[in-house]
């Protein structure tokens, strides 16, 4: 019964991943396969010397850090504030916040590209109207990262709000009642009771978000119009793989003791 699933994983994920690791040690000659030769860490020294690659790496790191931090903080706040409310407006707001998550990055990229267009985009029109200086948004290296993070947060926050909201619903109401009787304020209840109880889900969200962040390539691709970078070749892919692995490991080491399981 598991044979097809294992087949799919082995053939379409494990073998290709291994293949990439192997290739990363070779100098591959597409035109003349006979000239392909083993060069050890040659590719790695080459990409780490390339400014393009290191910049991409730093950018991905910065992007991942900020999206994870901002989304986590906002999603917890939104979930606590909205997730337990049952009135129509709250539910509609939740539905609205979630909507961007199901729309493709291609469409959202196009919409924001228009909104952020320096000359006839809406954002600059608004900035101008309230007397603030215009921004170059994605067109300038200074503001591009911020623009991309803004869009990523906007797109994904609804999803995480809902996951955390689902976790919150499992928290027994007696606990909040007990906390209220113990004179615990709102912030204290959030920090001392709510967050520790939903820590397994938060941990799960953290890992999913970090892994998801590395697909940022897609966002940048559509928003800056750049093609697949040469540096994201085999060696680059392997570096990506190692970073994801190391981060997950670090999370487990640092946080697993703080995660509360029932």
């Amino acid at each position: 019964m598991i044979a097809p699933a294992v087949f799919g994983i082995v053939v379409f994920t494990v073998i290709p991943a291994i293949q990439m690791v192997v290739w990363s040690f070779y100098d591959i000659n597409q035109l003349n396969p006979a000239k392909t030769r083993f060069i050890g860490f040659g590719n790695y020294t080459r990409i780490f010397q390339s400014a393009d690659f290191t910049r991409a790496l730093v950018n991905t790191g910065v992007y991942t850090f900020w999206t994870v931090v901002v989304i986590m903080a906002l999603a917890i706040l939104l979930a606590v504030w909205l997730g337990t409310k049952r009135d129509k407006l709250s539910k509609f707001t939740q539905a609205a916040i979630f909507l961007p998550y199901i729309v493709s990055m291609v469409s959202i990229g196009l919409i924001f590209l228009q909104l952020m267009s320096p000359n006839y985009g809406l954002f600059n029109a608004i900035l101008e109207a309230v007397g603030l200086p215009k921004s170059q948004w994605t067109q300038s290296s200074k503001t591009a990262m911020m623009s991309v993070i803004l869009v990523a947060v906007w797109k994904a926050i609804g999803y995480y709000t809902i996951i955390i909201g689902g976790a919150l619903q499992a928290v027994p109401t007696e606990l909040y009642e007990a906390a209220a009787l113990d004179n615990s304020g709102k912030v204290r209840t959030l920090l001392k009771i709510t967050i520790p109880i939903i820590s397994p889900q938060l941990f799960f969200v953290l890992i999913i978000m970090t892994i998801g962040s590395f697909k940022v390539f897609e966002t940048i691709q559509i928003m800056t119009g750049g093609g697949p970078n040469n540096a994201t070749s085999a060696a680059g892919g392997v570096v990506l793989l190692i970073i994801v692995g190391v981060l997950t490991f670090v999370y487990f080491r640092l946080l697993s003791r703080k995660v509360h399981y029932q």
């Binding site: 019964m1 994983i9 228009q114 909104l115 799960f204 892994i211 697949p228 892919g237």
Partner: protein, 276 residues
């Protein structure tokens, strides 16, 4: 005093909710507005909020810019076939992982979890070469078959199957039910919310996928909508936002329509991801 403060608090809370709705819905309204503007309206300095005369022909123009019927057909085939394949692979696997003790079970499950963490950006190149060797580059197969194992779905569904009380399975065994029957009559009906959640996630992901088809295709014949829409920007350039947005609506609208009708259901099913 206390009452007054409560009233003010409520008003602020309503205000924040309205602002949030605007922030998250306005870009889509904006897309619709631009899609109905003239080329001049969409690219001149004082921006146009509402088009003077709705330009419905923008959709026709966009539709004719590229072989959209072909793209749409490809998208539909890819989404339907991949989702069906995933369900057929995922359900028995999740059941086996949840219910059977067998040698190497934890090892294989660990393999699936690790694979779940490997981004497709790492694996596309060898798979593309594999498809090339099999002469499948100009078919839809490379966009369907590699999706066969939905690791996240197996993980989620296994969790759900494990929550079905042992008693029920034992009672069914005493009732002479075969494994297949236990799966079909007890496990599946009880896991409906989880299965629909996984399938919805999967369908949305497949419909929206851009990176994989971009990497797997070399001709319009086999490309899905996402690529076609993204390409509009290159063919149209930055001055024809009205046409680009009209094309964009072709991609977004089906999902939004589905969402309007099922938003409550979709949100509920997504909240099942926050598993313990």
């Amino acid at each position: 005093m206390y009452k007054k403060r409560q009233k003010v608090g409520k008003l602020i809370s309503i205000l924040i909710k309205i602002i949030l709705c605007v922030i998250f819905l306005f870009p889509f309204a904006w897309m619709c507005s631009i899609a109905l503007q003239t080329g001049v309206e969409s690219s001149r300095a004082p921006i146009t909020l509402i088009p003077a005369v709705p330009q419905w022909q923008n959709f026709v123009t966009a539709w004719k810019m590229a072989p959209f019927p072909l793209y749409l057909r490809n998208t539909l085939i890819i989404v339907a076939a991949s989702a069906a394949l995933q369900a057929a692979v995922m359900i028995p696997a999740a059941y086996a992982f949840a219910r059977y003790e067998f040698k190497g079970r934890n090892l294989l499950f660990g393999l699936i979890l690790i694979a779940f963490m490997i981004p497709v950006q790492v694996t596309f190149l060898p798979i593309y070469r594999m498809a090339g060797k099999l002469n499948l580059i100009n078919t839809l197969w490379p966009q369907i078959i590699p999706h066969m194992t939905n690791a996240f779905g197996i993980f989620l569904l296994r969790q759900y199957f494990m929550q079905v009380p042992d008693e029920l399975v034992e009672a069914a065994k005493l009732d002479n039910a075969s494994d297949f029957k236990i799966l079909r009559r007890i496990m599946l009906p009880m896991s409906k919310p989880a299965i629909s959640s996984v399938m919805l996630l999967s369908v949305i992901g497949l419909w929206n996928d851009y990176f994989w088809p971009l990497m797997m295709t070399r001709s319009d014949e086999v490309r899905p909508l996402t690529i076609g829409i993204a390409a509009l920007r290159d063919t149209e350039g930055n001055d024809s936002w009205n046409i680009i947005m009209a094309g964009n609506m072709i991609l977004v609208l089906p999902l939004i329509v589905v969402y309007i009708f099922f938003s409550k259901y979709i949100i509920n099913s997504f909240s099942y991801d926050g598993i313990k």
